[in-house]
């Protein structure tokens, strides 16, 4: 497991992809970590940083996909090349990569960790779901993926007999788990610190409230039973 570090990094580019934003920063000595791990990004002008899973790790860079819907994500989306922000990570537990027949499943902004995961798994099949054509422009990050748009759901398009690795809104994850009980699922919870200090991101795991930043954000079948966290961004 790579050791998390916190560094002040320069913004390389802020690129619009549909309604989303791909924020690219210099990598410095930060380790990109395992797909599914996340970084805390300083949100300029805000008190708390924001947790973002790594989307891509181009040479010398780290790239994060954001949905600018709240004060923190809007502040991040408003950065300009040359601006500097603190980046802290990699944090949490990523996906297990020792799977035989991987299938990536993503919904909306939840596709964020999948491009980097696809690279690590040598571009396995993927199914991505979006709420509109505009949102679906983000599928360009995973060119080989099958794309479905609301009202068609990812679960309608998922082939059977696959090792599912998924990230998306909580109802999607619950639906994926219902048909693929062994799926590895990346969850989301509001976090203040990302490193186990604040106890703010607890979700119910195995009948107990546990910190998602320490136990997750990727939870396997053994630990995901009975997870009823607030799987949505609380402050974004």
């Amino acid at each position: 497991m790579s050791r998390p570090r916190r560094e002040r990094r320069s913004v390389v580019a802020v690129e619009a992809i549909g309604p989303y934003v791909l924020l690219r920063v210099t990598r410095g000595s930060l380790d990109p970590g395992i797909p599914g791990q996340f970084f805390m990004l300083e949100a300029p002008g805000r008190v708390l940083p924001r947790p973002m899973s790594l989307c891509l790790a181009p040479r010398g860079e780290l790239a994060f996909l954001l949905d600018p819907i709240g004060p923190g994500t809007r502040a991040l989306a408003g950065l300009e090349p040359g601006d500097e922000v603190h980046v802290f990570g990699p944090l949490g537990n990523g996906f297990r990569l020792d799977v035989e027949r991987p299938l990536l499943v993503g919904g909306g902004i939840g596709i964020a960790p999948l491009p980097y995961l696809a690279e690590a798994l040598e571009q396995p099949p993927a199914v991505l779901g979006f709420r509109s054509e505009h949102h679906a422009e983000a599928a360009a990050l995973l060119p080989s993926a099958e794309v479905v748009i609301d009202p068609v759901l990812v679960t309608d398009a998922m082939p059977a007999g696959r090792d599912v690795l998924a990230c998306g809104p909580e109802p999607m994850l619950e639906a994926v788990r219902a048909i693929a009980p062994d799926a590895q699922l990346a969850w989301e919870a509001p976090m203040a610190c990302g490193y186990g200090a604040c106890y703010g991101c607890v979700v119910e795991i195995d009948g107990e409230l546990k910190r998602l930043c320490v136990e997750g954000p990727v939870l396997g079948v053994a630990s995901a039973q009975g997870l009823h966290g607030e799987g949505r961004p609380c402050f974004s």
Binding site: R6, M40, E42, R46, V47, L48, P49, P71, G72, H86, F88, A189, P190, M191, A192, C193, Y195, G196, A197, C198, Y199, G200, C201, V202, V203, E208, L209, V214, G229, E230, C234, F235
Partner: protein
């Protein structure tokens, strides 16, 4: 001057390096029984701070003594302060009585539980009950809601406290887009930069009432902020919310404080102890120049 963490703002077992960068580590509050804490949502950001409603989540006194304390002691080298909570003076005292371990450098009584908020008499009662059963240094973490800080502090000192920690969070509520409270519990503890002026005023008021050591805290983000607390009479300084955003804050704040001291031409933080208090002009009795 010691640099500590505010109780509840750091887990030394998951972030030992951060704890090690402090002069002492303060545990999350330990209660007699295990507490799972509040259901999510537990935290919310505001423009100038954050709210938390963690709900004193902790493994309970027995598990803390049997498992957590030995693990802490083998993980960090810095002195361990144990934060103690409860719902009656007896509960606090029973925990203090059991904290006889050499690893426990100090006990901080969390006197900001809902049932003791704004009740200086009960705070003093709790301190007195604990004083009777422990010889460990006893710090009282005082609520900033106290109507008369001086009176509270004098009562707590008379009850046998060795020091004060202030301030704890203020109670606050935020609403979401649909006008519902963001936190599942409705209200939570408000912390962060917004608390700085409240902390400075509370520390000043406490310092005028006592010579006990004071751990000042509330919105400290920089060396300058730490120095301001010292200027208001804090003996030590604790970092809270800033640790969430910046786990390197202890090292950074120390370096910034050293630079501030140099700028003011002082050698140590002690040179600036209470200097802000001397500069205050009493109402109705203006100084003539």
């Amino acid at each position: 001057m010691l640099l500590l963490n505010a109780s509840g703002c750091l887990d030394a077992l998951t972030a030992p390096d951060v704890a090690q960068s402090l002069d002492a580590f303060v545990t999350k509050t330990v209660t007699p029984e295990p507490r799972e804490g509040n259901p999510p949502v537990r935290i919310a950001e505001t423009e100038f701070g954050m709210l938390n409603a963690i709900g004193l989540a902790n493994p309970g006194r027995d598990t803390f003594l049997r498992e957590t304390l030995p693990r802490l002691a083998s993980t960090v080298d810095v002195p361990i302060w144990v934060s103690v909570g409860g719902f009656t003076a007896r509960e606090y005292a029973e925990t203090c009585e059991q904290l006889t371990h050499d690893e426990v450098a100090c006990i901080e009584l969390n006197l900001s539980c809902p049932n003791v908020d704004e009740a200086p008499e009960s705070a003093a009662e709790i301190v007195r009950a604990c004083r009777e059963v422990t010889a460990k240094p006893l710090y009282a973490k005082v609520s900033p809601h106290a109507w008369d800080m001086g009176e509270s502090v004098r009562a707590i000192e008379a009850a046998g406290a060795d020091g004060l920690s202030l301030i704890n969070t203020l109670r606050g509520t935020t609403l979401d887009a649909h006008l519902r409270p963001t936190l599942s519990r409705g209200a939570g503890g408000y912390s962060g930069p917004a608390l700085r002026p409240v902390a400075l005023a509370a520390v000043s008021a406490a310092r005028r009432a006592t010579q006990l050591p004071i751990v000042g805290m509330g919105g400290v983000e920089s060396g300058r902020h730490a120095l301001e607390l010292i200027a208001c009479g804090a003996t030590h300084v604790a970092l809270g919310t800033v640790l969430f955003a910046d786990p390197d804050a202890p090292t950074r704040v120390r370096a910034e404080l050293a630079a501030e001291l140099k700028m003011f031409g002082g050698d140590s933080a002690d040179d600036f102890f209470g200097v802000a208090l001397d500069a205050v002009v009493s109402a109705g009795n203006p100084q003539k120049h």
